[in-house]
């Protein structure tokens, strides 16, 4: 009964979405306020229906209802409760429904927080959101119904892929999806602006918080995915330039560019057409990522049970959404036209530079990801593009971004000179140079250079705040009072930029990581990276749906016990699959990392890593996301902003 209820709720959501797409858009076209005002209630209805639908799926999973095909294929009575819940978004069908749910919730959020928006813009934004939601919900219902029944029901389910039974991965999809789907909101704003034929500063101010929120989630989601591959796959690496990783990096790069170009729209009413294109691009990349993963076109660890027929449906949907919006862009963008002027050397100029570089990196990553596919299609050649390509192309483009990141925020709007900004950074440059030189003692030239870049970025990020509070130039007390009155957005920028610096430091530091694969008997000791690793014993342990072999490794430094690591090898009974459970001891500057391999003649294969500075990689991403959240909390970005802006516009108008 419950699955049918979920099925019905899904159908109901589609009806809501269709109404929410048609009525407000028609109303906005006709200028009919009553039709436009229907949008928020319909958006809430759609979100409610989707929540009920997804709730029913979770219920079926938790109750082990194996008459539901999706549950039978992905669950098992012995699966821990947490994974029964999170498993609801682990399968293809469930994850697509989850995708729809988040889109529905985004619509509800816009409906709730957009009351001050002009009526027609609000109606159009909600209408466009509903239009995309309608397509994806239709896809769920027709091509991948999570509530399909199976009869006779199997005695037990087939269980979930053991690699996915991990707390990190349980929360990776929701956060990543919120980022992907969140890009639908700037997209909807862009399409609404094209329909309106008008973009102003208020539009920029409205788009930015939504982009920022989605960007924070995307940053967190990517970092969580990378962390998962670091400690679950047990390879000790953190980024593999896997096509699916790239598919998440592309919207992130585009969204980062959008975040910066929207500032220019907000402050100077320039770069309007470009910003609209970026908003469409960020969402288009989010959608294409999903499509590529699910169609079976890309080779990856992330493959779902893929089916080309499903792929054709999604491709058609994407064709309509992306193609349609770009066609609209081609027709309507010329209307947006003329904008504020600025000199090449100015804050705006720096932001344009940021956009050019980020988009170049996007283009390079896109080329690397797509080239093998196109070479196979057009030239029938098998080519694989791997890390050497990306290192050779992305690093030269990333370097100027790193350099410019510290300078940009110190430049003033409209017209400025480069020298004063550079002079403010002399101490940063000095420290960065020292860091770089010191680093050459421990690592190669290239990582040392990036170490220096990291120092430059982190300190440079704080230079802006130090300038603003005039530290050491006015009494400390006045500096502190200036610090307190600084807008949160300033701290957001600083944290965002410094976070990237921290990540870069982590990546550069990883070049000093050492690892060793050893065959040791219990009682034996291995020396690695200044630590004594003693394999104390091996024993069997039973888990809820697996049997584990556990090694106990004591790590000592100069005879002092640092930590005891207990890596496991787990044999899952239902899926007849073995996974390795790496164990990591971290003190935030280095990871001691141990993996248990096969056993032979009473001896066990151990893989031991000393990953210097590795935690900084994810810590940096966390700082970046925190910067975004900080900026989001700024009063100026909040709901009342456009009203106040409208008032100040009126004041200005009165003055002229």
């Amino acid at each position: 009964m419950i699955p049918e209820l979920g099925h019905f709720a899904l159908a109901l959501a589609i009806a809501f979405a269709l109404a929410q797409a048609v009525i407000p858009l028609w109303g906005a076209h006709r200028g009919d306020v009553r039709l436009m005002q229907a949008a928020p209630a319909l958006a809430l209805g759609q979100a409610l229906a989707l929540s009920v639908s997804f709730g029913c799926l979770i219920y079926a999973s938790v109750m082990d209802d194996f008459t539901v095909l999706n549950v039978a294929e992905n669950s098992h009575t012995l699966k821990p409760l947490l994974y029964k819940i999170t498993g609801a978004w682990g399968s293809h069908e469930g994850s697509i429904l989850f995708w729809c749910l988040i889109l529905g919730l985004c619509g509800a959020a816009v409906a709730l927080f957009s009351a001050p928006l002009p009526a027609s813009l609000r109606a159009r934004v909600l209408g466009v959101l509903a239009l995309s939601a309608f397509g994806f919900e239709l896809f769920t219902l027709i091509e991948s119904n999570p509530f399909a029944r199976i009869w006779p029901a199997p005695d037990n389910g087939r269980d979930m892929n053991p690699l996915l039974q991990d707390p990190g991965l349980a929360f990776h999809p929701p956060i990543l999806y919120s980022g992907y789907v969140g890009m639908a909101i700037p997209f909807a704003f862009a399409i609404a602006a094209l329909l309106e034929g008008r973009i102003d500063a208020a539009w920029g101010r409205w788009v930015r918080p939504w982009t920022l929120a989605a960007w924070c989630c995307l940053t967190g989601g990517i970092a969580l995915g990378s962390w998962w591959s670091y400690y679950v796959l047990g390879w000790g690496g953190f980024w593999f330039w896997d096509p699916v990783e790239n598919a998440s990096l592309l919207p992130w790069l585009t969204a980062t560019a959008l975040l910066h170009s929207a500032i220019v729209v907000e402050k100077r009413e320039a770069l309007k057409i470009w910003t609209v294109l970026l908003a469409i691009g960020a969402f288009a990349f989010s959608l294409s990522g999903t499509f590529l993963v699910r169609s079976g076109i890309l080779n990856s660890v992330h493959s779902f049970a893929n089916d080309p027929a499903r792929g054709v449906f999604i491709l058609g949907l994407l064709g309509l959404l992306i193609g349609g919006s770009l066609l609209l862009f081609a027709i309507r963008a010329p209307l947006l036209g003329a904008s504020g002027v600025f000199a090449a050397v100015s804050r705006e100029g720096a932001l344009v530079m940021n956009n050019i570089l980020l988009c170049s990196i996007t283009a390079v990553v896109l080329t690397g990801t797509m080239y093998p596919l196109f070479a196979d299609l057009l030239l029938s050649q098998k080519i694989s593009v791997g890390p050497p390509f990306y290192n050779a192309t992305v690093l030269p483009l990333a370097a100027p971004v790193f350099v410019a990141m510290a300078v940009g925020p110190l430049m003033s709007w409209k017209r400025t000179a480069l020298m004063p900004a550079l002079l403010k950074l002399w101490w940063v440059a000095l420290i960065a140079a020292i860091v770089g030189i010191v680093a050459t003692f421990g690592m190669n030239a290239l990582p040392a250079l990036f170490m220096a870049a990291a120092a430059w970025m982190i300190l440079g990020a704080f230079a802006d705040i130090i300038e603003r509070i005039r530290l050491f130039r006015i009494p400390l007390g006045s500096s502190l009072s200036r610090l307190v009155s600084l807008p949160l957005q300033a701290f957001g920028t600083t944290l965002g930029h410094a976070g990237l610096g921290v990540t870069v430091a982590g990546i550069a530091g990883m070049s000093m990581a050492v690892q060793e694969v050893v065959l040791v008997k219990p009682g034996a000791t291995v020396h690695l990276a200044g630590y004594d690793w003693t394999l104390q014993e091996l024993h069997d342990a039973a888990g809820p749906n697996y049997n584990a072999r556990v090694a106990t490794i004591a790590v000592r430094q100069d005879g002092r016990l640092i930590t005891t690591l207990a890596p496991e090898r787990r044999a899952f009974t239902t899926q007849t699959m073995t996974t390795t459970e790496a164990k990591i001891h971290t003190n935030l500057t280095r990871d001691l990392y141990a993996v248990l391999g096969e056993e032979r003649d009473g001896a066990a294969v151990l893989r031991l890593h000393d990953n210097t500075m590795a935690p900084l990689i994810w810590l940096g991403a966390l700082v970046m996301a925190a910067g975004g959240a900080c900026s989001l909390a700024d009063r100026r970005l909040r709901v009342a902003a456009p009203k106040r802006a409208a008032k100040s516009d009126a004041v200005l108008a009165g003055r002229t």
Binding site: S295, G296, N299, G311, L315, L326, F329, A330, K382
Partner: protein, 173 residues
């Protein structure tokens, strides 16, 4: 005018990309595009010499027309999946020759009795040595040999239904 052209460029790029992805998906369905596949070394080369209980290379060449050769086994689950597709090809008059890979003759006969026999000729490669010569990666695997005895095409895994039309046209021409 230039500006309009520039603004239409993203649409053009999306159109091209969409077209290419459609071609890839179609290719996935018909078996002409396989991003996971490892290319066969045999493509474009003459059929390697072999002599099996059932038929030999000479028998294939003597046909003077294209032949499809399918490696299968009674113990292979995807082969059960593939059986209806092969039957459909057989009903269109496409000559399919089967090689039973590492399979007992009695088991092979049982399999053909259960799932239908689409094969014009049947050989048995019980030791699996011919499969090594051909570079077979698993069962089922399908090869298209042209009238001159050159290997033109190989497909790994169960043949998709969408491949039936294309193959019967190819073999007929």
């Amino acid at each position: 005018m230039n500006r309009r052209l520039l603004l239409a460029a993203p649409f053009g790029v999306a159109l091209l990309g969409g077209g290419a992805f459609y071609a890839m998906l179609r290719g996935l369905q018909t078996g002409s595009f396989d991003p996971r596949g490892v290319p066969s070394q045999l493509i474009g080369k003459p059929l390697p010499e072999f002599q099996l209980p059932g038929f030999s290379r000479a028998d294939v060449l003597a046909q003077k027309r294209p032949v499809i050769i399918n490696f299968f086994a009674s113990w292979c689950v995807p082969c059960v999946d593939e059986a209806p597709t092969l039957m459909a090809l057989h009903q269109r008059g496409v000559p399919i020759w089967g090689i039973a890979y590492k399979d007992k003759p009695a088991a092979t006969q049982g399999f053909l009795a259960r799932h239908g026999n689409p094969f014009t000729n049947l050989a048995s490669d019980e030791p699996g040595l011919v499969a090594i010569d051909w570079g077979v990666t698993g069962v089922p695997e399908t090869y298209l040999i042209d009238a001159q005895g050159i290997v033109q095409w190989r497909f790994v895994g169960p043949l998709p239904d969408a491949a039936v039309d294309g193959l019967s046209k190819l073999v007929a021409s």
